[in-house]
Amino acid sequence: MTLDTVKHAAETPDTDQPWAELGLKQDEYERVREILGRRPTGAELAMYSVMWSEHCSYKSSKVHLKQFGQKVPENDAMLVGIGENAGVVDVGQGYAVTFKVESHNHPSYVEPYQGAATGVGGIVRDIIAMGARPVAVVDPLRFGAADHPDTKRVLPGVVAGIGGYGNCLGLPNIGGEVVFDACYQGNPLVNAGAIGVMRHEDIHLAKASGAGNKVILYGARTGGDGIGGASILASETFDDAKPSKRPAVQVGDPFQEKLLIECTLEAFAEKLVVGIQDLGAAGLSCATSELASNGSGGMRVELDDVPLRDSTLSPEEILMSESQERMCAVVEPEKVERFLAICEKWDVTATVIGEVTDGDRLEIYWHGEKIVDVDPKTVAHEGPVYERPYARPAWQDALQADDAGKLPRPRTGDELREQVLKLVASPNQASKSWITSQYDHFVQGGTVLAQPEDAGMIRIDETTGLGVAIATDGNGRYAKLDPYHGAQLALAESYRNVAATGAKPLAISDCLNFGSPEDPAVMWQFSEAVRGLADGCLELGTPVTGGNVSLYNQTGEAAIHPTPVVAVLGVIDDVSRRTPIAFADEGHLLYLLGDTKDELGGSAWSQVVHDHLGGLPPQVDLGREKLLAEILISASRDGMVDAAHDLSDGGLIQALVESCLRGGKGARIVVPDELDPFVLLFSESAGRAIVAVPRSEELRFTDMCGARGLPATRIGVVDGDTIDVQGQFTLPLSDLRAAHEATIPSLFA
């Protein structure tokens, strides 16, 4: 077979090309021909097809995501915004923090262990590529019904994969979510997030500038795994009936990645790196075209110099391979020797594969012949953009009209007691410690808070005590009922979680998991969620620093619940002021902050007790969320509260049970006159938290709430070894612990 060189392509315009097999649409292929003024070579076709896939080009979501750049809140913390590998925010004292969440949904369904493991690997490389040392990971997860046999296959594999990779890298896992819902049965969501820390001056960007600078590929050798994998797989509806559509799975090598981290950080420390890019989806196609596109010059690459694991790979395959644990650095010629020496020190394979050129073309050579000659911007940044049709689904009105208010409620103390036990033992509300104990929380010696706290918290400066907190949230049930407010509720919950620990929320990242963009109903959910999130961020003053969109999450015609996952990053000046959730001291007074309304649409109660989803989700009042956060942060800073727990799914009773079990102390609760006991315990009104106030601080605390206009209701006291709701029921902590902790192990151990 003759090599399909640029010259050959120009001479043979009529050659048939497999554009459809590579996932391109006819008009997209025509557009490539138009850009090039000829047909693409095989290698060019490979590059365009992976880079123009939904996963890499955001072609369906771009028009909506624009809002994150338009509705930008006043916030001077933002150092690097959307468009880079990950956003960067200023956290003070000269430190910058980068964080991001990404999805690895489809690969994790095909091969749960490796899919989840490589998801962690990928997000961590994004963090290193910014110049930061990764300091923690989080893992928001969604699975099908807890008792479905396939969940027993997927969940243990995913959890072992996240643990296996993250533990071996030495990154504490400090948060995440585990949610079960039948809508994720054929399409679990495996999102992975990471945080990194650096000094301001160490921020690095993915760009290749300076003609003559060398392009160095380092890390694992390139193999035939996952060719077109993540990008193609994540850009189509997953269809069980077509096993041929399952591309090779990538296998992760966390040990290699650990070496990659150390070696990259050492090269940064010696200021050897001009630009850097990780290799993730679309592999070398992505890295070379993005580096060249973002830089000032062009780039010339000798593909023969790429170290291979399999010598039979074709140039197209080398360009598309998604082999893990690889990075690409741009280094000045006189620093190359030192860079390679550092790689050698860490046993990392490193090879110069090309250089930055004067022009503005990306040229790739194979056996001395030119096989790619493109404007890199057209590959990396000027892909197709779709204005997909969207329409509010016909069923939305009926769903919202199916009000949860009509569901039968418990009428006696005994019924309440029974439903409390049922709630705290339900898979979504049960303790996840069987899962989280498979993750290292302690490595790196900086973990201040980790699961099951409201947010994870990491100390980043040992001398000053400066720390950062992160929480991730997303409630697909709320978003299904109302995607606009559902996205805001995810934002509000995550924001509240961070504030509950005493940290000030600064900025967000998101992972938007939706069904097929080719379905107008899904596109409507997506556009509403993005609009809700952008409006919410503007109001809360927390900019979107970056994120990830995962579409085509559906089985056949059935889309998952729209599931926007929001990660909020916060900062705390001194981690010794952090507020835990544990009620640990007898006699402390329990105050319920915020207003409790009769809001049960989409609630955990409606799901657990009635298997019902309908009505409207709780109302959103972002002004109130802001006020609540300010109070929680002040109370932490001034030592007025010893414990705080935000209220979310499962309502007050869920929060009480968690705080009591964590601290090993009970609580006596008095139902305020104006409230129905059921509503008090189970409503999911937003903008609320419960705090434990030492008696000596009561006056100061209530004065502060009063002066700032935040409702604070004294509802009880930390006491004994039962949860006692006066006049209703008493539940021993030991019974609650048994109910809360047995569920997950009994399903999966």
Binding site: V110, G223, G224, R246, V251, G252, F255
Partner: protein, 85 residues
């Protein structure tokens, strides 16, 4: 009781970090001349009753659906030589 062995190895095109770690260590330990190392799993099954075609077919199915993950692994089944290997 007869012993049936199921060997499970990663497919050739799939990265084998374990095998690579061993291979890279060998020269340092003074062992030269090993071109490649792959590390896999060996399952020894003690079969109750006769190891006839039906039994082997069942073990084959067990290997395919459970012992190996055929997305990334290949396997072979063989009856262990009574005399030992």
């Amino acid at each position: 009781m007869a012993r049936v062995v199921v060997d499970v190895m990663l497919k050739p095109e799939i990265l084998d970090p374990q095998g690579q770690a061993v291979q890279r260590a060998l020269p340092r330990l003074g062992f030269e001349g090993i071109g490649d190392v792959r590390q896999g799993k060996r399952f020894e099954l003690e079969v109750e009753g006769p190891v006839d075609d039906a039994a082997l077919a069942r073990i084959h199915e067990m290997a395919e659906t459970f012992l190996a993950n055929t997305v990334i692994e290949d396997f072979t089944v063989h009856v262990e030589d009574q005399a030992g290997s």
